[in-house]
């Protein structure tokens, strides 16, 4: 048996022994997601146990080095780990912006001290992070942001406002873009980390068209941030932010696709209805073609990305394709559901989960860079189209 096959059988046995049956059920809503952090209330004993056994083995972040709380798996091993998790339908033991976004940024730009301190907290689910990027006047044109950190010797005093901060009201710490030089647009931004309980930080949830409030406005009023809480060099935070946006795009591109992401479940359940709706059925069939395509595309992208063969801007393409596909999926789920899918509060509709989920997906192609910005980036950086 090759080393990888041995590894696969070990992982399979470990998952069999350690993943509780409840954690092999599909994630139905945000309430089923384990986010970790100081304020997090576990939904069940199984959820807590699953996170803890994984954290102890480094399996919450399997491809991070062991010193930072990971399991130190190689790309091939990590792929096998993902495949074996998927095989039994295991839920992610821990989901967090710390894993998806801050982690990769710290691994690349952090000091050794920062990596050991912050990454271990993330891997163990002790600290939940949020991201402070967008501002009311700075959406797609993020670099125009104004939140300012005034240099006070051994610390900065930060004033300003962020918007669309995901789960800011539930997060423990924030990684935040702060202007530290007003005279230089791109090279005047720093990437700072600070505790959301620092005096002067306040949050206000934003109610969305889905009726839910996953995002907040976040206000900074004379917030003191010590100088050692900067990632990367002073005024070079934009480099960190760009690198991290790549990971955000990678994440969003694969988000929202429960199960295999296709129409087989709903299609088979609604078979009789669809027999009388040939045009709708055809739309679903074409969606399924694109869904299978995207799965294969994602797999190929990951294989190329992890071995350094992917174009550095490729995640922009995946973000565009994946989010547009997810919006299409939800349009079809609503269409197949008919008037049943319109229900907003009933128990029968699980509190309007289809309708709310559908509305939520409309943000997919806006957050983390709009589809239009993604297409600009692909055209210029990958296709090398002329012009400014």
């Amino acid at each position: 048996m090759s080393d990888l096959e041995t590894f696969r059988s070990e992982i399979r046995a470990w998952l069999e022994a350690n993943c509780p049956p409840e954690m092999r059920q599909p994630v139905k809503s945000d309430a089923d997601v384990c986010w970790g952090g100081r304020k997090f209330v576990f939904q069940s004993e199984a959820q807590k146990q699953w996170m803890e056994v994984c954290a102890a083995k480094g399996y919450t972040v399997p491809d991070w080095p062991k010193a930072y709380g990971g399991a130190g798996l190689t790309p091939q091993e990590a792929k096998i780990f993902r495949q074996e998790m998927a095989r039994i339908g295991a839920r992610p033991p821990l989901s967090s912006f710390g894993i998806w976004m801050l982690g990769p940024a710290l691994l690349k730009f952090g000091t050794e001290e920062q990596k050991v301190h912050y990454l271990n907290q993330v891997a163990k689910g002790e600290i939940r992070w949020c991201q402070g990027y967008s501002e009311p006047g700075s959406g797609s044109d993020l670099v125009s942001m104004q939140t300012f950190g005034e240099d006070k010797g051994d610390h900065w005093v930060v004033n300003g406002q962020k918007i669309w901060t995901s789960y800011a009201d539930e997060a423990d710490w924030i990684f935040c873009l702060v202007r530290t030089d007003k005279t230089n647009k791109y090279q005047g931004i720093s990437f700072l980390l600070f505790d959301m309980e620092t005096p002067g930080v306040s949050t206000k949830p934003i109610k969305l068209i889905s009726g839910n409030s996953p995002f907040c406005e976040t206000f900074f009023d004379n917030v003191v941030v010590p100088k050692d809480q900067i990632v990367g060099e002073l005024n070079r935070g934009w480099d960190v932010a760009k690198y991290l946006l790549g990971h955000e795009r990678e994440m969003i591109s694969g988000a929202g696709a429960g199960g295999d992401g296709g129409m087989s479940g709903i299609g088979a359940a609604m078979r009789d209805v669809l027999a009388e709706e040939p045009v709708l059925r055809a739309q679903m069939a074409l969606f399924d073609v694109d869904n299978l395509t995207f799965r294969a595309h994602g797999e190929r992208f990951m294989d190329e990305w992890k071995t350094g063969k992917a174009h550095p801007a490729y995640s922009n393409l995946m973000k565009y394709v994946g989010t547009e596909l997810n919006k299409r999926r939800n349009e079809l789920v609503m269409a197949v559901g008919g008037s049943n899918a319109l229900e907003w509060e009933s128990e029968r509709s699980n509190g309007g989960s289809k309708a709310r989920g559908w509305l939520r997906t409309k943000a997919n192609s806006i957050e983390g860079g709009t589809s239009e910005v993604m297409l600009n980036v692909v055209a210029k950086r990958i296709l090398d189209m002329p012009g400014a």
Partner: protein, 378 residues
């Protein structure tokens, strides 16, 4: 397996790319078209394919071939597509070889050496109407003497009139629409009662209408099992489908690259037209579609090579997606080239014609999307 080419596959791609680019570029295709070549391809080029080792790529090693898989066949097909290189490779070395692998040893020994040598051409006599519906096969094979007597009509038999042998799907039992009761036969070109009418297609390929008027074949002309031809047919068609999909990735990529180059050269309103965001977004979208097509085709190839249970689903998705993406590439290609794209002198229109034929070959995108829905349970 990883969805990236390994070292050997990368070398094969480089040599196929060099070979097609120098020996069979679009110029080669044009020359044959302008000559009104009756075969639609060059026998000399087919021999060169053999010298390169391409012809026996899917033939097992112990039978004189390279014993490689669909990924490798697809690598060659992509370069064929990119250069519009006319050859019997897809029908003979990919689809027919996959069917013949399931034939008895006498038949394999009869046909493999000629295929590997680049001397034999095999036609696929499957379709009976204008659309690909293999289960609707009505052509009959009645038991007669030591064998069978075949009667019926076939069409879209690519390079049929130049073929040494036709693989004919016929019904030994059951009724049109049923997958049981089909049998595949190897019918040699000089069989009595076999007649063909060659027709040139929009892409200058030549396909035949075939009439089988009581064609007598021996029992040993059967490929696989009598009445159980569906499994052989499926294997042959899936090889052809994923192969056509790979060729379309090549056609689409060729058209796309040519178009992107044009956007970087052509000036209007004192600017390169590639500076216009309206065109940049369409270009980026097209690139995403082609990259998706490339990925799903590769996935289907690797699942076929593994003999995976989901191979058929992915083959259908791959043929559908490659068809849709390649079609978008040639339509955007002609549109973005403007007036020059409408001229015969310019190559982009040739890609549009080739796409149309390949989309239709082995079932179009709508046919395969329908199959995806059926396999997904609705």
């Amino acid at each position: 397996m990883a969805m990236t080419l390994n070292e050997d596959q990368t070398m094969l791609r480089d040599s196929a790319r060099d070979f097609m680019g120098s020996e069979a570029p679009v110029k080669h295709f044009r020359e044959f078209r302008d000559k009104g070549c009756k075969d639609g391809f060059s026998h000399g080029l087919w021999k060169q394919f053999a010298e390169m080792g391409f012809t026996g790529i899917l033939v097992p090693e112990d039978q004189g071939g390279l014993g490689l898989g669909h990924i490798e066949a697809g690598i060659v097909l992509e370069e064929i597509g990119r250069n519009l290189s006319p050859s019997p490779f897809l029908t003979t070395s990919v689809a027919a070889v996959e069917a013949l692998k399931l034939a008895d040893s006498a038949m394999r020994e009869r046909w493999f050496p000629g295929i590997i040598a680049g001397e034999t051409v095999i036609g696929l006599a499957i379709d009976e109407g204008a659309k690909h519906r293999p289960e609707k096969t009505a052509c009959t094979a009645e038991r007669s003497g030591n064998g069978f007597k075949l009667s019926g009509h076939k069409q879209f038999v690519v390079q049929g009139a130049s073929s040494d042998m036709l693989i004919v799907a016929a019904r030994t039992a059951g009724a049109a629409g049923e997958t049981d009761g089909l049998t595949l036969f190897a019918v040699e070109k000089d069989a009595a009662g076999l007649s063909m009418e060659a027709a040139r297609l929009v892409d200058s390929a030549v396909a035949a209408h075939v009439t089988l008027d009581g064609v007598q074949v021996d029992a040993d002309a059967v490929i696989g099992e009598v009445d159980g031809g569906w499994s052989v047919l499926t294997k042959m068609l899936d090889a052809g489908r994923v192969g056509a999909a790979a060729e379309m990735v090549g056609v689409g990529s060729g058209a796309m690259d040519m178009t992107f180059d044009y956007l970087k050269q052509r000036k209007q309103f004192d600017r390169l037209i590639g500076e216009f965001q309206a065109l940049q977004h369409r270009a980026a979208h097209l690139y995403g579609e082609m990259e998706g097509a490339r990925s799903v085709v590769m996935k289907a190839q690797s699942l076929l090579d593994e003999g995976h249970a989901k191979a058929e689903l992915y083959v259908a998705a791959a043929k559908a997606k490659a068809g849709l993406a390649c079609n978008l590439a040639v339509r955007e290609g002609v549109q973005m080239h403007g007036g020059i794209g409408m001229t015969d002198e310019y190559d982009i229109g040739l890609y549009m014609k080739r796409d149309r034929s390949l989309n239709e070959f082995f079932g179009d995108a709508w046919f395969h999307a329908d199959r995806v829905a059926i396999m997904n349970g609705y």
